[in-house]
Symmetry: C2
Subunit: 427 residues, 2 copies
């Protein structure tokens, strides 16, 4: 089928575009390279040496004979976006083209406003463009499990049936997001739900958990196709960061008690979930919600798993607890349903099977690219606008993991630096 | 206490500013006159001849000896807004400074995007300004009963306790808003709730019903203090429009079956509710929600009440049913709680008591200013972007109500025009 991947140069977007292309779909990528700009802004780099998109696409074509079409532009510009929809006439639009890091949205007011305006306007534009030019097209929108927060009841997939004062209704599951980024996704979800109801659009809102890993069969075809592997404090996800810390002998930085429990999934499951959603479109007028993750872990669970995996590789991995820079429950009930994608055919990859190959070995392979200065949290939820959060890392010092003697000293510095950044957040 | 009224030149804002000033509070108004601009854009005018704000404030000072401070600017500009907060050091901020018309937000994509960006960014700016400069200040934010939609269960005040799979939690009441405007208020509510949790701000989210009437004791002090009375299809609220239609012998335009039931309140209760909220601030970290309305009516109930009131004044009032330009349930369950403001001392004005004085007589007094061309719905929820919605009324013909003979013909034209605008919306 004809699928546009908005944000196809990003982490999930790139893997998705290749997977769909490999599986016989006609794929177009839309991107404005914002994700690469944010790296420059923050003074960080992906662990893996990703290539320019033009080169990636050209290599993909050489290796597979498949062409992925490219539209360069910003989805917040309606003329651009609507021209893509008219030109490509997609049957499905996969929408990853949003600012997706909670810490980035919490840097300061400007970043909060940017995140919400960018994400909300991009999605509004898409809804209007689909209504006007391609009303039968299926919107596959990436939401986040973070939209639900951590309620003290089971989390359902998007909707919950409530009995109240002797009456009954099925309503959207209440949302309690924990950052301006997560809030932007909640705003999107409400806007999409309304557009489906008012205009008969069809949408699937995929509330995705935390994605880990970088290898997919497609990415593995060539070094120039390599995907992002973010481990910095702003865009890095927790498991990637832990693996990188383990690889250079740094202690794993657990925020607070580490009882924060979330849904996780392998990026190979992300791409499959997207295809499943595309192949099983929502009905006209339907706004369907799937919880897209495969396993639940607490942050401390993950730290222990990385510790064990490190031992197998001969690494000595310690665990540090930092004051939690986020405002979140450090211990809580968490039980989120995630059966709908399984029912449609998803066969999950389990973290225990992929931790070594897809994560630890990638971290080790590229460990001379690791910048140990960018892993401690610089963004404090309670104090947005602190200068440290906005200051790019000056003169990043590349640590060579082999310099084993430095590990203890660096750890002490790391902990001290964190206390400096979060003076009021001590436990 | 020191209270800033954001949007103090608007309908609710003006009445609120005067009421608070009269009751001994130190009041400042912030406004950028956006509301007056939208009238120009749409080619409409308030029924009542409102005076420029500078004149209103100067007359208020002459009549009462009270000074209301004025800051002219846009709350979406952070430097301006934060300077007001620093300069005035308010104990409460009453936030009316939003685009508040559902039909305006549904005109087309640009109006939808404008409404959401304007409202969300203004509120985000306010949250950041309070956090940075006045963290103890109480935010009194105007939401809308429309945030809840029309669920098949009782609507609680902001939060609902859910029992689910043997567990129990109190969570935000699920939101199902029915326009991009109502959605913007839902976005605000989520943002505010998060800011209270993350930063310990104090907020009261007032989910207000449909406000009617124009007379308050303060406004009545002088002709130059007169408040807005909007009756056009975009900014006019349903009861105002019905009274104006009755005054000129036009049939009341009920959308669809008229079973749409909503909460309503007299503007004299609006201003009192605001004061009650200010005098009983939320605690630090608390995001409190009150449902601010006093009575529930269906649209058809209102039409019949206006018909009866018209009869007392010697007016023959007919009722027309138009195809509903909105996407909404035309018959539904509706039972919304609204006891919290009553518990804090609100003594409601009942519509049955104020319909003649505060509404019908105002409509009759200014009936030679009525423009009969602006009362039929020009904005269709299902077809945003239709040119008719954006076309300003050309050469508005002032109808004199006395020209009774025209009534039937006009009605026929009205119905025909409506059908033309909503070709697919026939019942």
């Amino acid at each position: 089928m004809r699928v546009v991947v908005l944000g196809g140069d990003g982490y999930c977007g790139w893997a998705t575009a290749l997977y769909l292309s490999k599986n016989g779909h006609s794929v177009a990528i839309v991107d404005n390279f914002a994700r690469r700009q944010w790296d420059h802004e923050l003074g960080v780099e992906t662990l893996t040496p990703i290539r320019p998109l033009a080169e990636r696409l050209s290599v993909w074509q050489s290796l597979t004979g498949e062409t992925i079409k490219l539209f360069v532009g910003d989805v917040t510009e309606y003329d651009f976006l609507s021209s893509v929809i008219q030109n490509f006439e997609p049957e499905a639009v996969v929408h990853f083209a949003e600012q997706r890091a909670a810490p980035y949205s919490m840097i300061d007011r400007k970043h909060a406003v940017f995140t919400q305006v960018n994400n909300v306007v991009g999605t509004l534009n898409l809804l209007f463009a689909l209504r006007e030019f391609q009303p039968d097209c299926h919107l596959v929108k990436l939401g986040t499990m973070g939209e639900y927060g951590t309620p003290n009841i089971d989390i359902e997939e998007g909707y919950i049936t409530i009995e109240h004062n002797g009456r009954r209704d099925t309503v959207p599951f209440p949302k309690q997001p924990g950052s301006f980024y997560h809030l932007s996704k909640v705003h999107d979800s409400h806007n999409i739900m309304f557009a489906c109801r008012a205009w008969g659009l069809r949408a699937t809102d995929l509330n995705q958990g935390v994605v880990y890993g970088t290898m997919t069969d497609e990415v593995a075809l060539g070094e120039a196709l390599i995907n992002r592997f973010d481990y910095d404090d702003v865009f890095g996800t927790v498991l990637n960061r832990f693996c990188v810390q383990a690889a250079i002998g740094y202690p794993l930085t657990v925020y607070g008690k580490g009882g924060q429990t979330r849904g996780f999934l392998d990026i190979r499951d992300t791409v499959r979930c997207i295809e499943i959603a595309c192949l099983n479109p929502a009905a006209r007028g339907e706004c369907r919600v799937y919880n897209q993750f495969t396993e639940q872990f607490s942050v401390l669970d993950l730290a222990h798993m990385v510790q064990t995996a490190g031992k197998e590789l001969g690494l000595k991995v310690e665990i540090d607890h930092l004051a939690d820079p986020r405002v979140e429950a450090e211990e809580h009930y968490y039980n989120a349903k995630h059966s709908k994608l399984i029912e449609l055919g998803l066969e999950p990859h389990m973290l225990s099977d992929s931790l070594l190959d897809s994560l630890m070995n990638v971290a080790l392979k590229y460990r001379d690219r690791i910048d140990a200065n960018v892993m401690l949290p610089r963004v404090n939820w309670r104090q947005p606008g602190n200068p440290a959060a906005r200051k790019p890392v000056e003169a990043p010092a590349r640590l060579v993991a082999a310099a084993a003697g430095k590990s203890n000293g660096s750890r002490r510095n790391a902990a001290a630096a964190s206390r400096e950044l979060h003076p009021k957040a001590g436990r």
